[in-house]
């Protein structure tokens, strides 16, 4: 097979991986600070996709411009969800937390079904079928835009956690909740902010992803599973790890499809997961908790 074919597929896989990474960031942020495993992860992203679809269809807003709007809407949703519901069960055993999040997921699916029906629906932007020709490379324009948008959102998120006081306070809560309380941080508000930021990431990822795939209410579980694989490979709670995991999965899935059979893509993702669990259980960029 020609080299340009491998190059094309690798670039496409990396761009897809950036979006996977962005969606996994949401899971990683929430788990890293609040220690809640968000089983409604994929479904919340699907909400973001449907919200973008509505904005595109009724107001004609390009999905890329929808990113801040949908992220803000899902931030509010996540903030309220944490403050009104999740906060009240954080002290309960893990399995009860899992059940709560799974119940929220089922409710989101049912709501989407009632409003949007079961059919797959997509957006049709003017550049949907365009591609960039760079020498022998033929890169899908939508994927490039989506990849760049994912990179920008991830960069903003990293900057927020690294350089702002609120970001540092959230990281402090994640590192030592008791310590954060002792120094007078408003942990309740910071947790709600964190959950909101996590769901805002999902909103942004959903708005970008709707450019690449059609949305239907049952899309969520496969993305929840994918996000789990990514964050476990990258390291639970590690933001750079989530992005790296996303890139790795996107890239390896694409190449596996080319070298072996496309139907082997998922097997390669799970194979990577098993390898990481065996050789580096804390994930590629995770820390060993002592």
């Amino acid at each position: 097979m020609p080299v340009e074919l491998y190059l094309n597929v690798a670039v496409s896989g990396l761009l897809t991986g950036l979006i996977y990474g962005l969606s996994a960031l949401g899971l990683s942020v929430i788990f890293g600070v609040i220690r809640i495993v968000n089983f409604a992860h994929g479904e919340i992203m699907v909400m973001g996709m449907f919200a973008t679809l509505v904005l595109f269809r009724h107001l004609g807003i390009d999905p890329l411009y929808c990113v801040p709007i949908v992220a803000a809407a899902l931030f509010a949703f996540g903030y309220l969800l944490q403050d009104l519901v999740v906060r009240r069960i954080v002290h309960l055993p893990d399995y009860m937390q899992f059940l709560l999040m799974a119940a929220i997921a089922v409710m989101i699916v049912s709501l989407c079904l009632m409003i949007f029906g079961p059919d797959a629906q997509g957006v049709q932007v003017s550049y949907a079928y365009d591609s960039f020709q760079i020498g022998p490379l033929l890169v899908d324009k939508v994927r490039v835009y989506a990849g760049v948008a994912a990179l920008v959102v991830s960069g903003l998120l990293f900057a927020f956690f690294r350089y702002t006081d609120t970001g540092k306070a959230i990281r402090a809560c994640g590192d030592n909740q008791t310590g954060a309380l002792v120094v007078g941080l408003n942990v309740r508000r910071l947790f709600a902010l964190t959950f909101g930021i996590g769901t805002a990431c999902l909103g942004a990822a959903g708005a970008i992803l709707v450019l690449l795939i059609d949305v239907h209410p049952y899309l969520g579980p496969s993305y929840t599973l994918l996000a789990f694989i990514i964050v476990i490979i990258g390291g639970l709670g590690s933001l750079p790890g989530a992005l790296l995991g996303g890139l790795l999965i996107g890239f390896s899935e694409a190449l596996a499809g080319l070298v072996f059979q496309p139907s082997m893509k998922s097997a390669v993702s799970f194979g990577l997961l098993i390898l990481v669990l065996l050789l580096r259980p804390q994930g590629l960029m995770g820390k060993i908790s002592r």
Binding site: M1, P2, L5, N8, V9, S12, G13, T16, L113, P118, D119, A120, G122, A128, Y129, D130, S131, L138, D140, V142, L212, I213, D214, H216, P217, Y218, S222, A254, G257, L258, Q261, P262, S263, K265, S266
Partner: protein, 418 residues
């Protein structure tokens, strides 16, 4: 007197006690569970038909499309003098486990005959339940040959098997190549890896060598039915330098494949589909003018049959923007079989109803072929296929010659010049 005293008094009098009632219910339950031929329900009222379709999940679009065939059936059946059907809807959620559970639920709720389920895997799961419970099951759409090769007594299929579809497809491809004076030298075979796709892939290996096709298969690429992205598949297919695509797909993947062809700037000489997806209404709606060109080799309706015109008119009235297609035709015909059998049986008794389905002989039907009748295996082996091409948003029959209304557009118009 307390309940306990009443029971004691009744027992002393040799009457019915709570214990005997419980034992009686238990015995009745055992009898109901073990006697597969005991399901007799009142005749005279409408026949309760459980219609199982993938109304949600990855095949939701097609399931909903099949439902259109159900919606228009009632008045037509009445016009034909057939008894009324009471439709009980079930959703297989596009997976086998739910299909099995829903079939059990519908039977539990009183369904006297099952219809469904578009997909081979789901139909096979329902067939097992129908066989176990002794309830007739009329398959609307499912092509995997093994479903009617199991020696089932309650399963009937008015739809060609994968082998028949392939045989007709290769015959008609040669007819089209002759018609247009051109043929591809090589093709890539792309197929979904579900029960139907795998059965078709297996069948191609067996059937194709018998036809001395003018092309060779440059590569075979299988992909997951829930695939979110098919860019690698198309990149791989394009790199082989093949002239045309041979595909077995579903609706969502047909849309994804087309989008990737456009993005990767590749218009093959032809897209030859031996499955659903490319002729669906949703395919046209989603892709607009990019939907033109593919040729599908599918079980289809005979436009010259009287009942086809009736069904087409009913569809046009109910769904003005939807073309009559395989999903509507075969779902309608499954209900036609049910109503016809109920009329002849005169009862909802499962044994007699099954016997009536077995002896079906409907000549005034819709699909291509001699009519509807079942062989000893429960298969209608007279049902045929047609080659239809997407032209200007319409579905045009281009082969076989006796049913063709136009010549095939060959090669496909380039995607970037539409």
């Amino acid at each position: 007197m307390t309940d306990r005293n009443i029971s004691k008094a009744a027992a002393a009098a040799g009457g019915v006690t709570r214990r005997t009632v419980v034992a009686g219910i238990g015995a009745a339950g055992m009898l109901a569970g073990t006697s597969r031929f005991s399901i007799v329900r009142a005749a005279g009222g409408p026949l309760k038909v459980g219609v199982l379709l993938p109304r949600s999940g990855v095949q939701a679009g097609i399931g909903q499309d099949c439902q259109r065939g159900v919606e228009v059936a009632g008045p037509i059946l009445k016009e034909l003098g057939l008894p009324e059907l009471q439709i009980m809807n079930g959703d297989t959620e596009s997976n086998e486990q739910t299909a099995r559970a829903q079939a059990e639920k519908l039977i539990g709720d009183g369904a006297q005959l099952l219809v469904g389920a578009f997909d081979s895997g789901q139909s096979a799961a329902i067939a097992q339940v129908a066989e176990q419970k002794g309830i007739p099951f009329v398959i609307n759409i499912a092509a995997a040959p093994q479903i009617t090769e199991q020696g089932y007594k309650y399963v009937f299929r008015n739809f060609p098997t994968a082998v028949t579809i392939l045989t007709d497809a290769f015959k008609q491809q040669k007819e089209i190549f002759k018609q247009v004076g051109s043929a591809p030298k090589s093709v890539v075979f792309l197929h979904v890896n579900d029960t139907f796709g795998s059965a078709m892939a297996g069948g191609i290996g067996k059937v194709m060598p018998k036809f001395d096709m003018p092309y060779k298969v440059a590569d075979t690429i299988a992909y997951d039915r829930a695939a979110r992205d098919l860019s690698v598949e198309i990149a791989k297919a394009k790199a082989t330098g093949a002239d045309a695509l041979l595909v077995v797909s579903r609706l969502n993947d047909a849309i994804l494949l087309t989008r990737e062809l456009v993005k990767q700037r590749w218009t093959p000489e032809a897209i030859l589909s031996m499955g659903p997806g490319w002729y669906e209404d949703q395919y046209f709606k989603t892709l607009g003018k990019l939907s033109d060109g593919p040729i599908s080799f599918v079980p289809w309706y005979d436009p010259k049959k009287k009942l086809s015109q009736t069904l087409k008119a009913a569809m046009k009235k109910a769904y003005p923007d939807v073309n009559l297609n395989t999903n509507h035709v075969y779902t309608f015909e499954a209900l036609l079989v049910a109503a016809d059998a109920y009329k002849r049986a005169g009862t909802g008794d499962s044994k007699e109803l099954t016997e009536a389905v077995r002896t079906t002989n409907i000549t005034d039907n819709v699909s291509i072929g001699e009519g509807i009748r079942f062989d000893a295996k429960g298969q209608n082996d007279t049902v045929g296929d047609a080659s239809i091409q997407n032209v200007g948003g319409e579905l045009v029959v281009v082969a076989p010659e006796k049913a063709a209304v136009a010549k095939a557009v060959w090669p496909m118009p380039p995607y970037d010049k539409r």
